[in-house]
Symmetry: C2
């Protein structure tokens, strides 16, 4: 049965990077993968066409798809929208919530060919390979009550950081399973010395550990985790944390590699349906100039093949192809340095295709 | 009129590092500073003596003091305390809240003599000098409602992230004033694309900017700030943010310097009363062995002289003395490397005293 892939280019560099990833998807189809591709509008693009960052039509297509490939959303022209519900980010958050994509996988992997690009000393980051598992549909991002209101003569803003045992348990199981497939070490990050919600988080993780005797569970406070990522990031294998802490730590971890243009991500629900997107943003300042790095989006296709389509062999072929173009010395502007060959977005995509 | 200083050694390495800082306070008194010193118990030490991490007697002394010098609190023997209100951290949080110490100043400064210690490349961090202004008595640390309760058949944990306009304004003014005294650039960190409470935060910062036309205000999302601190930390002058984000970012920033054992902090209320403490923790694993670095605590005394006692000349004398012992090549274990002379906690304190 043909599997449906929805491509949502989004804003900024989104269209040009997804175009390169679609080339690879087509190559996978030529190699025998039974997929059908559709396109949709989201973010600023959705707002311009339909007045909504997540048009109903896009949401319907997303629900019907097995997997979604998203470029990126956002741009300065929509930052000033008075009605916050119309901002591009709400399209992304709406997709996550409506499809129940609670399990966000964000690898921070240093490509040996790009070791130079890191702002950290080579010995601190060489061989870095961390997987951050972030809860994506709960926590303070979606907690109620929330808002801004008048209290005792002045305005007060408030949000609610909330997790139930079952929400913690299901993301915990994703993380324990992930650790089991990797090096067997899981670090759960919380602020259990201050926040009750994360005391419950820690307690549930402890309880789950009994089901995974082969995984070594540790706990770390979020402030210490931020420090340890800077000091000695290679101590980590898998990190599991909530939505807000995961947002912050996964970006810091990605930046340790110095090449955020290389990092893909997956967001999964309980039935394995997933949304795949690069870790980087929509970079409106360089959009349309052929400067963007398509590799994170191409590697997001590899994650899609691995986690939703169960096509590990094809996933590995893509990853090897990316390794090979790096070995050839091809670089988009963000990762170029002396002695390498600078290529455009499309040239990079074509090179991966060739090596595939 | 004699000013009262309360010394709270706390737990772990707290007693040995505050002992060295007290030597310097005494030297300041010998140099003509009119102060009286008192001691008190807090954290695990308070719990052991009085069954409370913040004994009433300590709180009374703290209220009566002009300034407090705190070592550090916490240790594994108290982590398992069932009653969370008895944990050492609650002593610290109780002091902050009861004395209304809302303005937390956390410098991240790279000492040229210690440039090697950073895990970042020298060109990325050399000359680093950031001041993080963290709101310390509000936000999610103290927001109500909070707790763990049964809802629809399962337990749910929740905390409230809340700020009022007046709370934001008063920390904003501290930060704008700080930027004015430094390089005139203030970056306010929030998550205004997701959290209403930080939309209000951003709005109030914007409004305040009109009163400080000489300060250049910018805004950054917290995930991006975590990335930028790793990628190019020297872009920052002063950062202002809420309690939780400040906890995370200030630790990451401190670690960029590679020598968290060097970094002091100040926590101030509206009348200039302040609590001064090193950024590092109680390090129970090395307590009592003369291995701890007393410089962060000694530099906290310098901050006390500057911000509460208005004795800038004495503050500078201490800072120069610290610079001089580093120039001499003296190092405690945490910052020692080949070619430097390893000294104990007390030897380091004595050397600073000598150079003072
Ligand atoms: C755009 C924003 C809402 C989003 C988030 O905070 O989750 C982004 O930063 C991310 O991490 O995917
Ligand atoms: C000990 C803990 C409660 C405290 C905090 O989170 O504020 C500490 O991490 C700090 O930053 O001073």
């Amino acid at each position: 049965m043909s599997r449906k892939i929805l491509v949502l280019p989004g804003d900024g560099i989104g269209p040009e990077i997804t175009a390169e990833a679609v080339k690879i998807l087509n190559a996978c189809r030529d190699a025998g993968l039974d997929i059908t591709l559709e396109e949709g509008l989201v973010g600023g693009a959705g707002f311009e066409a339909f007045g909504e960052p997540l048009p109903a039509e896009t949401l319907d297509k997303a629900k019907a798809a097995d997997a979604i490939l998203l470029g990126a959303v956002g741009g300065p022209q929509w930052d000033k929208l008075e009605d916050i519900s119309k901002r591009p980010e709400k399209g992304l958050l709406g997709l996550r919530k409506n499809l129940n994509l609670f399990g966000n996988l964000r690898p921070a992997l240093l490509y040996p060919q790009l070791a130079e690009a890191s702002s950290l000393k080579p010995e601190v980051v060489s061989g870095l390979d961390i997987m951050i598992v972030r809860e994506l549909t709960g926590g303070i991002y979606f907690g109620q009550p929330r808002g801004i209101e008048e209290r005792e003569g002045q305005r007060v803003g408030f949000n609610t950081y909330v997790y139930s045992e079952s929400e913690i348990e299901r993301i915990g199981r994703v993380a324990f399973e992930m650790a089991r497939k990797r090096n067997g070490r899981l670090c759960s990050v919380d602020k259990a010395n201050v926040l009750e919600v994360t005391m419950l988080w820690r307690e549930v993780m402890e309880r789950l550990a009994a089901d995974y005797p082969d995984v070594e569970l540790s706990h770390m406070y979020v402030d210490n985790a931020a420090m340890q990522l800077v000091r000695a990031p290679k101590q980590f294998d898998v990190i599991v944390t909530g939505n807000m802490f995961g947002d912050i730590l996964s970006d810091a971890a990605a930046m340790l590699t110095g090449s955020i243009g290389m990092l893909p991500s997956a967001s999964l629900n309980e039935s394995g349906q997933g949304m795949y997107e690069p870790c980087h943003g929509s970079a409106p300042d360089i959009a349309g100039q052929g400067l963007a790095n398509p590799l994170a989006t191409i590697l997001s296709v590899a994650m899609m093949l691995r986690y939703t389509l169960n096509e590990t062999a094809l996933a590995e072929r893509i990853e090897r192809a990316v390794g090979s173009v790096l070995d050839q010395g091809l670089r988009t502007a963000d990762i170029a340095y002396e002695g390498t060959r600078k290529v455009t977005t499309a040239e990079m995509g074509d090179a991966v295709l060739e090596a595939f």
